[in-house]
């Protein structure tokens, strides 16, 4: 009798331990199915579809920049004039899904696919603010021109738009140089009417 009760107790405790161990494993073991994988296709439409699938999981939202970069690389390998439209739709979708804000979506799009420059500040006047960080602005515009080279030239093949952006870049820098030189110069004579 004692032997049977001991065996029964051992069996129950073993069952209990096993149950606890299995339950614990549910919390501790990594779940490989939730890993955020970047798209690995060379076709932009498939890459966009895969990215949308991945980004539907909230844990992948933090990797949005990496996904966008991968999409740019994929699009550059498969250039076409409609790619700007695809990217616009993707960014609008991302904003609708609350992955990125509207302002972020605008910035992403305009950096790569618009001739206008987003690096230019818009809060304060040139003399009060822009001219104090002129070198920084020049550097940012240079970087943005490279991004437009990627988006307008390499991805969509829009030579004309890139030429416009390039010309606008030079004109803005010329205008900024003259304006900041004028701001920095102290008036040595009474201002002319």
């Amino acid at each position: 009798m004692a032997h049977q009760s001991l065996f029964s107790a051992l069996r129950h405790s073993g069952t209990l331990v096993a149950a606890l161990w299995i339950a614990g494993c549910q919390f501790l073991a990594p779940d490989t199915t939730t890993e955020c994988a970047l798209p690995r296709t060379t076709n932009i439409n498939q890459a966009l579809a895969q990215t949308r699938n991945e980004l539907e999981r909230s844990e992948c939202h933090l990797h949005f920049d990496a996904y966008f970069e991968r999409l740019l690389e994929t699009a550059a390998g498969d250039p076409g004039p409609k790619h700007s439209e695809y990217f616009s739709e993707f960014l609008l979708w991302a904003n609708a899904q609350d992955i990125i804000t509207r302002r972020n979506a605008q910035e992403y799009y305009n950096r790569y696919f618009n001739t206008k420059f987003v690096s230019l500040p818009d809060e304060y006047s040139n003399c009060a603010y822009t001219c104090r960080i002129q070198e920084e602005i020049v550097q940012q515009m240079k970087e943005e021109l490279l991004q437009k080279d990627r988006g307008l030239l390499k991805i969509t093949g829009n030579n004309r738009a890139y030429a416009e952006a390039n010309s606008l870049h030079d004109s803005i820098l010329l205008l900024l140089e003259a304006t900041c030189t004028a701001c920095a110069a102290a008036p040595s004579s009474p201002p002319s009417p």
Binding site: Q106, N110, N159, R160, A163, L168, S171, E177, A178, P187
Partner: protein, 369 residues
């Protein structure tokens, strides 16, 4: 109940003014009134307009029937002087009544116009080339041209003498009488050139300085203090792409070796062209920037040249070497030729023309700025 035409018109004006302020976002009016009140004000305006139109129409019909409307056929009436005065005053009042009812009909159009004007407010007008700046640029060109004309002969003679000196193999043979005579002549001519420049450079410097000062002030006020960096971009994008990029007139020569007077003459033409094009703020702004930066550079060169002239004159006086031709003299003459007369005309357009291949589809995203 409809009131008379005058009272309705006055009420119309009041409502128009109120709604106009709302459209133009004058804060006081908005803060002091609730949305419900604003809605009813717009409704009242519409009713006012209908009332004024109706009353005006009725007065016209009534006037025509009684033949007292200004547009009615004039009849000759024989009156005494007092009656003529009264008649003329009443006619005047009738004529003045004319604008009231037309204004009632035009009020909605005015309202729509003010609304669209506020909603799509045009960018600020920038005035970078008032008359003083244009005149300064013109004067700079003229002064530079005067100096070039006076120096051209002297420099040509000096070059001839230098060529003769070289051909006569006078270098290293200064003891020879003929070579000494040539050297003496070159020294005299060189001094003459320096004196001419010493007289005229201050005039040019003064003129260019005036151009720089006035442009600097306008740039600082119009572009530096009133606008942000993003606004500068918008100014450049105002013109349609064709006029901005494909026009050959937009090619400006920076750091070129044109004659000084020719450079300022081109600036003057650029300013006139930029001002003549309607809505060409981008051309005006770029022209102003280009002229300002180039003029600043020219001013620096002129000051350097003035310093070199003073130094050369002093060296000649100290050494008392009127007859000696030094390599420095030749360098100075070469430098003067480059700055004032221009050499090796190389134009460097800073704006490349875009490729002419058409892009098949111009997609406009809702995310575009």
């Amino acid at each position: 109940m409809l009131k008379n035409l005058d009272e309705e018109t006055l009420l119309l004006f009041r409502n128009l003014n109120f709604v106009g302020k709302l459209i133009n976002h004058e804060g006081e009016e908005i803060r002091n009134h609730s949305p419900r009140e604003i809605f009813f004000a717009c409704g009242n305006l519409l009713i006012n307009w209908l009332a004024v139109s109706l009353l005006a129409l009725l007065s016209i019909l009534k006037g025509r029937k009684n033949n007292t409307h200004p547009w009615a056929n004039c009849k000759e009436v024989t009156l005494n002087s007092k009656h003529i005065l009264t008649y003329r005053i009443s006619k005047l009042l009738e004529i003045l009544a004319f604008p009231r009812w037309t204004l009632g009909l035009l009020a909605p159009l005015l309202l729509a116009w003010s609304g669209t004007a506020a909603a799509g407010a045009p960018p600020p007008t920038i005035r970078l080339f008032p008359t003083t700046v244009v005149e300064n640029v013109k004067e700079s060109s003229q002064v530079a041209k005067d100096m070039e004309t006076s120096l051209q002969d002297v420099i040509a003679q000096l070059e001839q003498q230098w060529d003769l000196y070289q051909e006569s193999k006078c270098e290293g043979n200064e003891g020879d009488g003929g070579c000494a005579h040539i050297a003496q002549q070159m020294g005299d001519k060189y001094l003459e050139m320096l004196s001419l420049m010493d007289e005229q450079l201050p005039r040019i410097e003064h003129s260019v300085q005036a151009t720089v000062d006035s442009l600097e002030n306008r740039l600082r006020q119009e572009l530096g203090q009133k606008l942000t960096a993003r606004d500068l971009q918008e100014i450049l994008l105002e013109a349609p792409p064709q006029s901005q990029l494909s026009s050959p007139k937009r090619t400006v020569h920076r750091r070129s070796s044109h004659r000084l007077s020719e450079r300022f003459r081109q600036y003057y033409q650029l300013v006139l062209q930029a001002g003549a094009q309607a809505g060409a703020s981008d051309s005006v702004a770029l022209a102003a920037a280009d002229i300002y930066l180039d003029s600043t550079e020219v001013l620096g060169l002129l000051r350097l040249t003035q310093n070199e002239i003073n130094r050369a004159q002093l060296m000649i006086e100290l050494r008392n070497q009127f007859g000696a031709v030094t390599p420095e003299m030749h360098e100075v003459v070469t430098g003067v030729k480059k700055i004032l007369l221009g050499e090796n005309e190389i134009s460097t357009p800073y704006e490349a023309s875009p490729p002419t291949t058409a892009f098949p589809e111009e997609y406009r995203s809702p995310l575009e700025f």
